[in-house]
Structure formats: C-alpha cells, structure tokens
C-alpha cells in the first residue's frame, strides 16, 4: 500500500524523523485554515501517488492568505498524470541550502534492507545516478542487528556529505530505519532530504546550525502486515483505482484490469499469468488478470464472474482451473450460480483439471449452460476463447 506524502510524514514524525510543520486539507476552506496555522510563506502541495507533481503545477508557494486560497482552488480537482487531486498538504515553506537523498528499500536479491544515501538529491536524482552510479551510496543492514551507528557513518563519509550534517543525517537515518521496520514498510524514501541554511544567530549569540529535514516522503507499507497497523489500513490511499478493481478488492479478489477483450479467471497467480501469456500467443488480448485464489468456493467464483463482466469490453471469458486446494466442482457450481443470477451474454470457455475435475465437468454437462464450451487443455481453451472473442487484432506475444 502506497501512502500519500502527508501520511508518510505523519509516520516520520511519530518516529522522530524531522519534518516541516504542516496540515492536510480536503477543501479550500480547510487549506486556508491550515495555511493560517502553519504560517506564511507556506507551500500548497497536491497529494497524489505520482511523481512530477511540481512540474505539473501541483506544488505552489503561498506568501499570504489570498495566495493560499487561489492555489488551493487551482490544485484541488487538478488532474496529474491521470490522478485527480482530492487532498492537499499545506506545509511551512523551507529554505534550501542543499538537497540530499535518503531511503531504505527492501532488497529482494540480498534479502536484507538496503540503506541509500546521496548528496545529489532532488528532482534529477535518477538521471544523476544513471550517469554516475557512485553518486548513490548503498549499505545493507542485517535485520537481526538493525541499523547501527557505523552504518550511518559509512553512508555519510562515502557519500561525501558536508561535515556538519554527518551527525544529524546519521540520526535521521536511524529514525528512518525505525520507521521502516516498525511500520512494516517495503520502502521509505526521502527526496529531497533538505539541509536548511544556517539560521540567524540564535538568542545564545552563536551562529545557528544547519538543520536536516525530510521535505518529501514516499512510503510503501507491506499489505501482508496491515493487520499489525490498523490505523494505516484505514487510510484512504488515493490510488487511482478503476471501478472494476475497486469492486474486486471489496470482494477479496486479486484483479488487474488490462486493455483487451478476453476476460480471464484462474486459480493461483502463476497459472493466471501463464494463461494471459498463452491467450496473447493465441492472438487474443486479455481484458484482465483475476486470481480467484486457492480454495475458491462457489460464491467467490460467482462474485468473480460479476467483476469480469462489469468490464464492458469483455466479449468472451476463459476459466482456466488446475485444482489443488481449489475443487473443480466448487468452481463449476459457482459458474452455474452466476448464470442463474446474471445473463452473461458472452461465450465462456471452461477448462477444469485437478481436484474433483470429473465432478466439475459432470456438473457443467448436466447444467448445459448457454454458450459455455468446455476444453480439455489449456492451449486448446486459449485458442477457442480467442476465436469466440473475435475482434482481436491478432497481435501475438508480449504487450507492454
């Protein structure tokens, strides 16, 4: 689950990672009130799960209340790369001296968290690192000992950050690691990690120190761990979700919408992915990925049929089941029940193998559903459904 910037920053603040003062807002009025509270100048920021918000005009500085109101009005409802802005974050404006980059990511290859630090943060960090990989320093952390002081020092000295920031960056990284592990994150990214200019001499008479602040937050939480974080699970993620995907999620199905016209249902992610590939190779275009899951009961199957058919582009549907935990008779009953509730109006091709496959096939034969065809192999079923779906461009192989 991806979090919005302000949601990530709230987690940062909870673990002591320094962030500028700010408040979220859903309306122009709330935004103005938030601006009054954090003080001027402030920044009005679109809260969407996509990069390039600044370039798209979704981040504006307000020097006074009138500015804040104008910017809030302009940004709310704005479309940024297909994401509609429903929420704003109004934040105290920060002076920028330097921009670093810091992150903890789950490294699948090493099976450990990896800490990353660069003194070349900001919007162009990816391009900079592409050109000069050494600009990004990486250090793996053994999850059994956690983030230690030496990790921070290695990163800081190797990245060549300014001497006066080594202490504060190290301490920020330790708190960021705490956020990463305690919140079950797959990613915590701070770009830019801001170094403020020295403040004017403080009351004590000495020159003010430069401070290190997280100016942005990109946080992804492990969906499998949401049961440990009920407050995060309740957050509105603001993900651009399409109506079928939303419907599927409410019903506990794993569904991804694609561009084609062949509806697909299978059990097990690997088999479903393979089914999409085989349909594409047979010249068809899959309309969706739908994994009904292991041990699918008949009501889950009925529900899945409704989700698939709610996409108006679907002109034929393929069921490809190899039962292990899943019982083919349950799948057949689910399909029969779906036909009793709705009139699909499109042809179905059904391939059942595995646990209780004979019973499943017999149930289907007895029910004699209109326009439902059974096939005995995966390849045969894919070819049949592509033929029945019609209207395909005949493209083969991979699509982006």
């Amino acid at each position: 689950m991806d979090l919005l910037e302000y949601q990530g920053k709230q987690l940062f603040a909870k673990h002591g990672v320094p962030v500028p003062a700010g408040a979220p807002a859903k309306t122009v009025e709330e935004a103005v009130a938030a601006a009054d509270e954090v003080g001027y100048p402030c920044v009005v920021k679109a809260q969407v799960l996509v990069g390039g918000r600044g370039k798209a005009g979704g981040i504006k500085v307000a020097k006074d209340r009138q500015d804040a109101e104008e910017h809030a009005r302009a940004i709310l409802g704005m479309d940024i790369k297909g994401f509609t802005v429903h929420e704003l974050y109004v934040e105290r404006a920060s002076d920028i001296d330097e921009e670093y980059y810091a992150a903890f990511v789950f490294d699948r290859s090493a099976k450990k968290p990896v800490a990353m630090l660069s003194r070349m943060g900001g919007m162009e960090v990816e391009a900079i690192v592409d050109e000069d990989p050494d600009a990004m320093v990486r250090v793996h952390v053994d999850p059994l000992i956690g983030f230690q002081g030496f990790h921070g020092r290695r990163l800081a000295f190797q990245a060549g950050i300014a001497a006066d920031t080594i202490g504060p960056v190290g301490s920020l990284l330790a708190k960021l690691y705490e956020t990463f592990t305690q919140e079950d994150a797959m990613l915590v990214e701070v770009n830019p990690l801001l170094v403020t200019p020295s403040s004017s001499p403080a009351a004590t008479g000495g020159p003010g120190k430069r401070e290190v602040v997280a100016l942005d937050a990109k946080v992804t939480i492990d969906d499998n761990a949401l049961y440990r974080h009920p407050d995060i699970a309740e957050l509105q993620s603001g993900a651009a979700e399409d109506p079928q995907e939303l419907m599927a999620r409410e019903r506990g199905l794993t569904y991804v919408k694609l561009d084609g016209n062949v509806g697909i249902l299978g059990n097990g992610a690997g088999l479903v992915m393979s089914t999409l590939d085989v349909v594409a190779q047979a010249g068809g275009q899959p309309a969706n990925f739908l994994d009904a899951g292991g041990g699918s009961k008949s009501d889950a199957i009925t529900s899945a049929v409704e989700v698939i058919l709610s996409n108006p582009k679907v002109t034929a549907v393929l069921f490809n089941i190899f039962g292990g935990i899943t019982r083919c008779d349950e799948v057949a009953n689910g399909l029969i029940e779906a036909f009793a509730q709705i009139n699909p109006g499109v042809p179905f091709v059904v391939r059942l193998d595995g646990t209780n496959d004979k019973e499943g096939r017999e149930l289907l034969a007895r029910a004699d559903l209109p326009n439902v065809h059974t096939e005995s192999t995966m390849l045969g079923a894919a070819e049949r459904v592509v033929q029945l779906a019609g209207g395909s461009s005949g493209s083969s192989g991979a699509t982006a």
Partner: protein, 290 residues
C-alpha cells in the same frame, strides 16, 4: 532417490488441528508419507485420527523423531512456528502459509541462513516425490515417479507443467514449490543443486515468473555448475509494468525482472525456455524423450 522428501521423511505438522492443516496432513498420510506428529499449542495430548498432537515442536521431536515440519498456521503465527521448528532441531521446514509479512520473512531468512535447517516456502505448495512422499498441497494423483525434477515459484502453474509432462509420459523425481514470496527460504539455485546431485533426476524444469532476479541468478549458476539439461518457463510476458499480479514477488519495475529479461538471461546461458507450458513439455521430449 528424490530430493528433500522421501520414505525417510518423518513429518510433524504445525497447525494440524486446523481445518486445512488436518485435511492436508491426512492427505499426505494417505499418500504414504510418515506423518508422525502435529503441533498446536494448548492441544497437546489430543490426536488427529491417531496422529499425536503436542504443545511444542520440542516435545514432538523428542517423542516422535520428526525430521521434517510442515507449517500450516495463519500468517501472524507462521514466522514464530518456523523459528520454533528450527530451534527444536528439525532439518527441513516446509511453510505453506500465504501472507506472512515481509519483515518477518526477512528476519527468519537471515536467522536460518546461519543455522543448519533448510526452509522451503513460505507461500508454497510443498514438495512431492512421487511414489515416496508428499508434503503439502500438490494434487499428487496427477504425477508419477520418473526422471524430471521440477522447481517452481508458483503452485498451480507447477501442476500445469507437471501435467503437460505427464501427458507425454514423463514422471518426476521430485516437484519442489519454492513459493512466490519476496524472501523464499530456498532459491532456485538451492534446489537445482540438489537435483544435479540426485541420480534419479535426468532433466530439470525451472518454472519462474516476473519480479526479482532469482531466475537470472539461476541462469548464472546453471552455466557454471549444472551438467544436466535444464528447461525453463517464465510466466508474465503480458504483465503490465508496475502492477502486482497476486504474488508479492511478482512486481515488475523498469526493465529488470520482466519475463523478457529473464528468458533472455536464461537463453544467453544456454537454457532453453518454453513459451507455453506445452512448449516446455515439447522441449523435454526433444531432450530426453524416448
């Protein structure tokens, strides 16, 4: 011979008193696996159709000499159960549980990497050595004994490929599901190493999918260390970048981890890649068919 599970396997099932746990434990027993005990905290002293249940793995090992564990408990208890089995001295732990938090998996993996036990899974269908033993949820009746070793990240896709091979008369030495999670206890390489050393195995089938770089690592390993023929399959050529398709492991970002990149990496090292499960069986036929 076979790999990992065979007639010497003495299985203890964690979560044996649960609905799924008891169903599959008994299924494994009917197949011929020695299911010697189960563990459910608080149910010690009971039995499941004659299989004794203990409160802890330590008791189960002491009383029944279990050498293999199958973990069937819900995700929030699974990491604990795996670590308990390891602490009790179980050699091989097979975790079926789906949905274990990634940080738990990471801690378990890094702990076990230091010890003597082997973990297969989590989020895997288990291991079947046809004619000898079945541990897990693989529908065993579809497979018979033979010379093809299968290692796969996906459950149902494994059955599909196994079935295509069976249709052409092939049997299997062992079928090993390593699971689709981001931190599998055993990698392709770990299992391929076992198949290479197993005299019964004459051909190795590797079934991968998008996400991560386990297939690319396996390609390098095969080129350096494997003398037996390997045929590969990769699922997810039509997966759109950036979307997760069910398995937490199957996340594509950028070019790395795509099906094309994986197939290219394998082919560059001389491993033939079937573009459909049927094509995998066709290639197997060409290589060792009679």
């Amino acid at each position: 011979m076979a790999v990992l599970v065979d007639t010497d396997t003495k299985l203890c099932v964690s979560g044996i008193t649960g609905r799924e746990g008891s169903f599959h434990a008994l299924n494994n027993q009917r197949y011929g696996t020695q299911v010697v005990s189960g563990v459910t905290p608080g149910k010690g002293g009971h039995d499941v159709e004659g299989i004794p249940v203990f409160d802890t793995f330590h008791e189960a090992v002491a009383e029944t000499d279990a050498n293999t564990a199958m973990v069937f408990v819900p995700p929030r208890f699974a990491a604990d159960s795996i670590l308990e089995a390891e602490d009790a001295g179980i050699d091989l732990i097979i975790a079926i549980t789906e949905g274990i938090p990634a940080h738990d998996e990471m801690r378990v993996y890094n702990h076990m990497a230091r010890g003597g036990s082997r973990l297969v899974g989590p989020n895997c269908p288990g291991i079947l050595s046809p004619g000898k033993a079945s541990v897990g949820i693989i529908p065993a009746s579809f497979f018979r004994e033979g010379n093809v070793g299968v290692v796969s990240r996906s459950g149902t896709l494994t059955y599909q490929i196994g079935n295509e091979l069976a249709d052409r008369g092939f049997g299997n030495s062992s079928i090993v599901g390593i699971g689709g999670d981001p931190v599998p206890g055993s990698s392709f390489i770990d299992i391929i190493e076992l198949f290479e050393a197993d005299p019964q195995t004459e051909l190795i089938v590797l079934s991968g999918e998008i996400g991560g770089d386990a297939e690319e690592q396996a390609a390098d390993y095969i080129a350096e260390n494997v003398t037996k023929p390997v045929v590969a399959y990769i699922a997810g050529f039509t997966a759109p970048p950036g979307k997760t398709m069910g398995h937490a492991g199957a996340i594509v970002s950028g070019s790395a981890g795509t099906a094309v990149a994986k197939a290219d990496a394998l082919e560059a090292k001389g491993v033939r890649v079937g573009r459909t499960p049927t094509a995998v069986a066709d290639i197997a036929m060409e290589i060792i068919g009679k």
